[in-house]
């Protein structure tokens, strides 16, 4: 390990405490999305046929492609922390930037996916959707709410990773003091896990 060069450089970092704080925050996120999954499950149980009809209309290929993108971005994020810990700052920066690139690609796909649905008049409160059954209105309502809230998390994650890129570049995040990058990674992986459940529930269970 590198020795700090004097008392001015010394600072107390509670590594375990920081991570516990992050995990506690992630549990509140889990309960937030858990509540929505609960809502989805109950309405799905009450309107099985209409949820089936709604799910058929979603683009499985686009959904699967976005799953691959997010899984890959989770790997690059995990690798960026490992690279930094091994002292390879440059590789860590490249991997963090790759994660941002993949996250942006995910959002671009989401934009086209939502755009096509809205173009076909399928959005909450639209004339076309109100003519459909109650179950389908609920399905598309949940689809927009849950993928929308997830998309917002991706956007926030991207902003935070942008911040860690800056911090790593300025050596405020280093091989010895990397808990900010690690916690950012935890957040990004949680966003990935939520998508792991969203994908089959909205696109596959038909």
């Amino acid at each position: 390990m590198q020795e700090s060069s004097g008392h001015a450089m010394e600072k107390h970092v509670d590594y375990t405490g920081s991570k516990i704080g992050m995990w506690l925050f992630l549990f509140t996120e889990l309960i937030l999305f858990g509540g929505m999954f609960l809502l989805y499950s109950v309405y799905r149980y009450k309107h099985p046929q209409e949820f089936h009809a709604g799910a058929v209309e979603l683009d499985v290929v686009l959904g699967a492609f976005n799953t691959v993108i997010l899984l890959t971005s989770s790997m690059t994020m995990a690798l960026s922390i490992l690279a930094l810990r091994k002292g390879n700052k440059k590789l860590s920066l490249i991997l963090q930037l790759a994660t941002i690139g993949l996250g942006l690609l995910f959002l671009v796909n989401k934009y086209f996916e939502w755009g096509a649905k809205i173009h076909h008049g399928l959005y909450p409160g639209s004339e076309q959707i109100l003519q459909r059954g109650k179950g389908e209105i609920l399905f598309f309502g949940l689809y927009y709410t849950m993928t929308g809230l997830h998309g917002l998390h991706v956007l926030i994650g991207l902003a935070v990773i942008g911040f860690t890129v800056y911090m790593t570049q300025r050596e405020r995040i280093t091989a010895e003091d990397f808990v900010i990058l690690e916690n950012t990674g935890l957040y990004w992986h949680l966003v990935d896990i939520i998508w792991i459940y969203l994908f089959p529930l909205f696109y596959l269970i038909t």
Partner: protein, 96 residues
Amino acid sequence: MAEKHTEEHTAGYGTYFYVWITLLLFTVITVVVSLMHLGNLSILTALVIASIKALLVLAIFMHLKYEKMVFKVMFFVAIITLTIFIGMTFIDVLYR
């Protein structure tokens, strides 16, 4: 000064790569299974596969496997809480 982390074990580059490959394989499997139209069984298989993927991400990418016991206990309590919420709601919905 920061605590020392060098004694902690985490996965290497190779492990992350293999976990990624496994996650992609499970994604292919879940899509293929959904095309087989297994009816009610399809919900179960999709959720089981999603949970295996989530556990892989948690254990390896999020380092839960290598963390101190307190992290595992906290995670367990959070999952149990969520399960109770879902379970109690479904008891209400099913037997109303």
